[in-house]
């Protein structure tokens, strides 16, 4: 019955409908349903603390109704709010159902009133904040700030262990070896060339290269390796100079050389 009354009120209140229409023109200007509710609440011309939430819910529903009539698309959250307000309205109008759990209509209305007050309070606070003297507009910082020059000082550290490890590292390096060559076990190519140039005159037939190794160098493996390499390198050099010929029967077979027939030694 009460609801019936409200609806007749709703249809009769031309002023309210006109007001809702005026707001609809500006619907894009609202920041969501709460903002719209806050604006609607101002038409009640009372302190927010004394606002009639029931009346506000009606105002909102009229607004949504008008929007529908004008075939205006309202964003979903406006419609969700409308549904919730319709529910709130029925809660407020119907006598409370003792079997019903959950918050009462009054509690829900009080919360909505709180939300509106809080939003309004934040708006006022924002306005007060922006009205304050502001840096760069009302008061100013130093025009030519002198930056603090950062002087970076680097200190290096190393521990005794680092030092010892570094030393140990240098002493175990493989590439360290060539610098302290034991000269005694090295037969150089120059030495091999000298030796072969003297011997080749006697080599008219194919002779194994190994027979050209210097005396005393055949036994010790290190010496033998060095002498063989130097002799082989020397023989290649002599082939290049046209003094001797070189051949190898097959892979890993002994390398043989002989004096070139018309070669000048």
């Amino acid at each position: 019955m009460a609801e019936q009354e409200e609806f007749s009120d709703l249809h009769l209140d031309v002023q309210e409908r006109l007001a809702a229409e005026a707001l609809i023109v500006d619907v894009e200007g609202f920041e969501g349903p709460l903002d719209l509710l806050l604006t609607l609440s101002r038409t009640q011309k009372v302190d927010l603390l004394k606002i009639s939430i029931l009346k506000l819910a009606q105002q909102y529903l009229v607004f949504v109704e008008r929007a529908k009539e004008l075939r205006l698309e309202l964003a979903a959250d406006y419609l969700v709010m409308a549904a919730w307000l319709a529910f709130l309205k029925s809660r407020l109008l119907l006598p409370p159902d003792p079997a019903d759990e959950g918050p009462s209509g009054e509690e829900l209305a009080a919360h909505l009133a709180f939300q509106l007050q809080r939003l309004q309070a934040m708006r006022d606070a924002a306005a007060q904040l922006m009205a304050r003297d502001q840096l760069g507009r009302d008061f100013f910082a130093r025009g030519v700030p002198e930056g603090v020059e950062r002087v970076r000082r680097v200190t290096y550290t190393a521990t005794l262990l680092d030092l010892m490890q570094a030393y140990a590292r240098t002493r175990t390096k493989d590439d360290f070896r060539p610098f302290v060559l034991d000269r005694e076990s090295v037969f150089t190519m120059e030495e091999a060339l000298d030796r072969m140039r003297g011997l080749i005159h006697f080599a008219g037939t194919w002779t194994s290269l190994s027979s050209y190794l210097p005396e005393g160098w055949e036994v010790d493996p290190a010496k033998r390796r060095s002498a063989t390499a130097a002799t082989f390198a020397a023989s290649l050099e002599m082939v290049k100079q046209g003094q001797i010929e070189i051949r190898q029967g097959e892979t890993f077979a002994p390398i043989e050389i002989r004096k070139k027939a018309d070669g000048k030694a």
Binding site: R118, M122, Q128, R137, D138, F140, R142
Partner: protein, 227 residues
């Protein structure tokens, strides 16, 4: 004028009486000069800790700062507290002389201004709470703009499901609006007394109720830390 003059005399004379050694801190008057030079040179607020760090060993930047503040009382330039730092700023009543210095700042949208105010008054506050208060979702651009201005920053995560980030205002915010601390926000006491800074949640909804306790605690923490 006469006040500052007498201060100055005291400051200049007193420390000269005391004997100086290589290892003693410079006289207080000299320390005051140092604080003056440092604050003067910097566009940003400087903390007492940093002052002490930059001044010679044994200096008491806090005491020197007190002297300096008094000296600049009523001058065209003032020594102001900004959060944990100190800065020199021109007196606001002389703003009319400064039009030449004014830098055009980007106009903040209504959404940005409201969001900023909500963060300042409710900090630390989550995005969901901001949306609850404004009744509308907060666009990413709004938060980004405030972050870019360095007026807000991320606070601690909430210890609630989802561990949402919170937002708090920065020293640059305090500096910009000439506030010593967030406690000096206009109307803060009244708003709190009216219960309008509480994070009440729609009755019958359980979800965010967990948040409520957490918010309350954090907020108390913040303001008590400052005190």
């Amino acid at each position: 004028m006469s006040d500052t003059d007498s201060d100055q005399d005291n400051a200049v004379n007193a420390p000269e009486d005391s004997e100086q050694s290589l290892f003693e801190a410079p006289p207080l008057a000299e320390q005051e000069r140092m604080v003056e030079a440092i604050l003067f040179a910097s566009a940003e607020p400087v903390g007492v800790g940093e002052l002490n760090g930059r001044m010679p060993h044994g200096c008491d930047a806090g005491a020197a700062l007190d002297l300096l503040r008094r000296r600049y009382e009523g001058r065209g330039v003032r020594v102001v507290k900004v959060g944990e730092g100190w800065a020199m700023r021109t007196a606001p009543d002389l703003a009319f002389l400064m039009q030449k210095e004014t830098v055009e700042t980007r106009k903040l949208s209504r959404a940005a201004i409201e969001t900023l105010a909500i963060i300042a008054y409710h900090q630390p506050v989550t995005r969901a709470e901001i949306e609850e208060i404004r009744g509308v979702s907060v666009s990413r651009g709004t938060i980004d703009q405030l972050l870019e201005l360095e007026w807000i920053r991320f606070g601690r995560r909430r210890m609630t499901p989802g561990r949402p980030v919170t937002f708090v205002v920065t020293q640059a915010f305090l500096d910009h609006f000439g506030l010593e601390s967030a406690r000096d926000l206009p109307g803060l006491k009244e708003l709190r007394a009216a219960g309008l800074l509480e994070n009440r949640v729609t009755p019958g909804l359980d979800g965010p109720q967990d948040d409520e306790d957490a918010t309350g605690d954090d907020q108390v923490d913040m303001f008590e830390d400052d005190a």
